[in-house]
Assembly symmetry: C2
Homo-oligomer: 304 residues x 2
């Protein structure tokens, strides 16, 4: 049984939640005659490609764990996936990670061209904010989500993490920074930023207390790190066929990773420790947080 | 007397308004320890480089023309300049317009590197939305400005205009589209989008009526077209020293421009016609709109 099938059987509502998210994404990616055809096709190509929809599911399940409805969470759920898709498109560019394969498909600049990939990413980012501003209610929740999402997407979080990640690959990167603390600083921002923002926005959509919002943020922090430790482990343990993208590429260019710094065994232990921390963060929420617990297990156990 | 000096003497409050805008920009571009140094330097490099600050001034003067204060308009004024700066950085990239000189300085990817230029643009866009969401009051005005700005920055406006502009340069661009209508479709979105959004946001900051908001939008439409006609005329009439960037580049690659389609004389006539339309749109606002009238004259008469 694949990790995805396991998640499906543990969460009977999963396919409905994914379908609701993808329908909202489709609406968010529908433009009138003013949206240039090729540009819109590139935006839809990466955003609607088969994916785990982890971040939107976090918005939905955080909202539901705190008593809110799926409907209330959907605009923010679509928005965070649009930001995620834009960051993948730009990270794959030749001047960045120079990847040709993503989610088993040619990357955006390969399928289209570089200029279109840059523009599609730019337009996806704008659409994410537009969607929350237009679709989320009440107005105070929309504005709070915009603050959370824009901060998470910016120089101090998502983009800052990618900038640090590129700096860490440079030949002149200081050897004293080749440590787990620096790696977690990068990942808390690069992967963690959107996970945390997703869980916070779900809490805002549910009009939760500040305490519950902080709890979701703490869970998001460990989930983001666990996701990255697992990603690094998969890169050094899988074949390209398993993963749907190039593997061993991290080791090939001396990239800062958990297995490179800690070794494979200690990386697996770090993953188990993060799993325990996640369960602790969610403990006070009871069974309503079960989907989030299952999702954490999925992140830890996934095969790709 | 240069056009800039002429504007200064016609508008005694100009340097104060520019100083207020630039102080707000400096605040918006200040980050704590979490903002990677090189990334933030690249963001500041293009955003704070000497520039006309046309878009922020439109926000401020639209707000003042409709009875609002400069202070109320500043967050949106800074935000639109951040969006403008990001679009310049990305438009200059080798895969887009491949420009090495901008505002008399090396472009961002030349002064830094391509990856940093992509990321700086991305982070500037996020910061623009974050700034309005955090700094603008009341909340309803902030949300309305976010809708206006995100729509203007997106696939149907700013980015869509750039995508169409690139398509128009391709060898297979249909000959029947080599017409003024198509050119204006591009520019209404590419340049016009942010001019219109600026004037609308100024009206929102002043809590103006829908009628006054529509009036500002109409003025923004003709101002944006006039700006582009003038840009095209400057490109074919000036030297690189006058302009602070490469000239004759449009003709060199068969780019769709007003002079190329209409000839230089008819382009000048089109500019005069747009000037008249702008004055008509502003007529009902009386002397409070004088700075906007002066600005329109500056756009039409500028030498660079």
């Amino acid at each position: 049984m694949s990790a995805s099938d396991a998640l499906e059987s543990a969460l009977p509502g999963l396919s409905e939640a994914v379908a609701a998210v993808e329908a909202e994404l489709d609406r968010a990616l529908s433009f009138g005659a003013d949206g240039p055809e090729r540009l819109v096709a590139a935006m839809r190509y990466m955003s609607l490609a088969p994916g785990k929809r982890l971040r939107p599911l976090l918005v939905v399940w955080s909202c539901e764990a705190l008593g809110g409805s799926v409907q209330r969470a959907l605009p923010a759920a679509a928005a965070v996936e649009l930001i995620h898709a834009y960051s993948l498109i730009h990270d794959d560019l030749p001047c960045m990670d120079d990847d040709v394969l993503r989610r088993g498909l040619p990357t955006c600049h390969v399928a289209f061209d570089e200029a279109t990939a840059v523009l599609a990413g730019d337009a996806l980012q704008a659409r994410a904010f537009e969607w929350v501003a237009r679709r989320m209610h009440p107005e105070s929740a929309a504005l709070q989500c915009l603050r959370i999402l824009a901060t998470a997407a910016g120089a101090e979080r998502l983009v800052g993490g990618q900038a640090d990640d590129l700096a860490a690959e440079a030949d002149d990167f200081p050897v004293e920074r080749r440590r787990v603390e620096w790696l977690e600083r990068i990942h808390l921002r690069k992967t963690g930023a959107l996970f945390r923002a997703s869980l916070q926005m779900g809490a805002v959509a549910a009009e939760a207390s500040d305490e519950d919002l902080a709890r979701m943020d703490a869970f998001g922090r460990v989930l983001g790190l666990a996701f990255q430790v697992k990603d690094d482990l998969l890169d050094c343990e899988s074949s390209p066929e398993d993963l749907g993208k190039k593997t061993q590429k991290d080791a090939g260019r001396g990239k800062l990773t958990y297995p490179a710094l800690l070794g494979v065994e200690a990386s697996r232990e770090r993953l188990a420790e993060l799993h325990r921390e996640a369960d602790e963060a969610l403990a006070p929420l009871g069974p309503a947080a079960d989907p989030l617990r299952t999702l954490m297990r999925f992140v830890v156990e996934r095969k790709r």
